[in-house]
């Protein structure tokens, strides 16, 4: 089980309570598809991903980005057992979606960078550490059921 300090818990709750899901989600996913273009392999039916402008303007990317970000809500509410919380999602990503789990880290790095831009100076080193720890636990849990 992961140990969370009071600061870490409060930081995660605070960040997500103020989260603009419909801005941050699309920004993070589209950034991931631009910065790590091989991740586009999972979105063959999303239409035009031809260049950065197309990706950023793509409504399916935007919708999916929001969906993914909301997917983190359950972890935010169950910080003491993220592994169990995501067991089913892990099976889904492995058996049905066939997503290479290395990709989870790529998306989480892009999410960190988008949230950093949003929070600006408030995204201190300590806040960054808490946020990245949270995402690392999520990423690990999503990879847990792969076999």
């Amino acid at each position: 089980m992961v140990e969370w300090s009071d600061f870490e818990r409060a930081t995660i709750q605070d960040i997500f309570s103020k989260m603009e899901y419909e801005v941050v989600g699309p920004a993070a996913l589209s950034r991931c598809l631009v910065v790590y273009p091989w991740t586009q392999r999972y979105f063959g039916n999303f239409g035009n991903l031809y260049n950065a402008a197309a990706i950023i303007a793509n409504p399916m990317v935007a919708k999916h980005g929001t969906t993914i970000l909301h997917g983190l809500d359950r972890a935010v509410k169950n910080m003491d057992d993220i592994k169990a919380t995501y067991a089913e999602l892990s099976v889904l990503h492995s058996e049905k979606l066939h997503v290479d789990p290395d990709n989870f880290k790529l998306l989480s790095d892009c999410l960190t960078i988008v949230v950093a831009a949003k929070l600006g100076k408030a995204f201190t080193g300590d806040v960054q550490a808490a946020f990245q720890k949270f995402l690392a636990v999520v990423v690990s849990s999503l990879g847990m059921q792969y076999h």
Binding site: V35, I55, D109, T112, I113, A117, G120, F123, G125, Q128
Partner: protein
């Protein structure tokens, strides 16, 4: 994943905008790295003060960013241009190359915070590729 002409142009243009803040960028990136990735502190046991923004951190942040600036000017042949720095890191400093990736990530986070409007996805990918190429050049002489 080598740098295209487009990447190089993007890096030079962005660097032109941000180089004035190089010392602040270096200080913040290094400070963050030491906090978020505490294992990196093992390379600085000789410093009196490892706290964010401390004097040794600021001085070293400036040194690191001078290296980055130098790399921008030598972007067309990083391996040749950074030969001396590679030998330094290989034979004297012996920094595990995994840490280059860690510092690069923190530089990107700081750029995102300080230049949210300019650090678009396209600039991000060019800078990420550039810092990776820089890291490869620094690792050249390791073995």
């Amino acid at each position: 994943m080598s740098l295209t002409a487009k990447d190089k142009a993007a890096v030079k243009a962005f660097w032109g905008k941000v180089s004035g803040k190089a010392e602040d960028i270096g200080t913040d990136a290094l400070s963050r790295m030491l906090v978020v990735y505490p294992q990196t502190k093992t390379y600085f046991s000789h410093w009196k003060d490892l706290s964010p923004g401390s004097a040794p951190v600021r001085k070293h942040g400036k040194t690191v960013m001078s290296g980055v600036a130098d790399a921008v000017s030598k972007i067309d042949d990083l391996n040749a241009g950074l030969l001396n720095l590679s030998e330094l890191h290989a034979f004297t400093l012996r920094v595990d190359p995994a840490n280059f990736k860690i510092l690069a990530h923190n530089i990107l986070v700081v750029l995102s915070i300080m230049f949210p409007e300019d650090f678009s996805p396209e600039v991000h990918v060019a800078m990420d590729k550039f810092l990776a190429a820089l890291a490869r050049a620094l690792s050249e002489k390791y073995r």
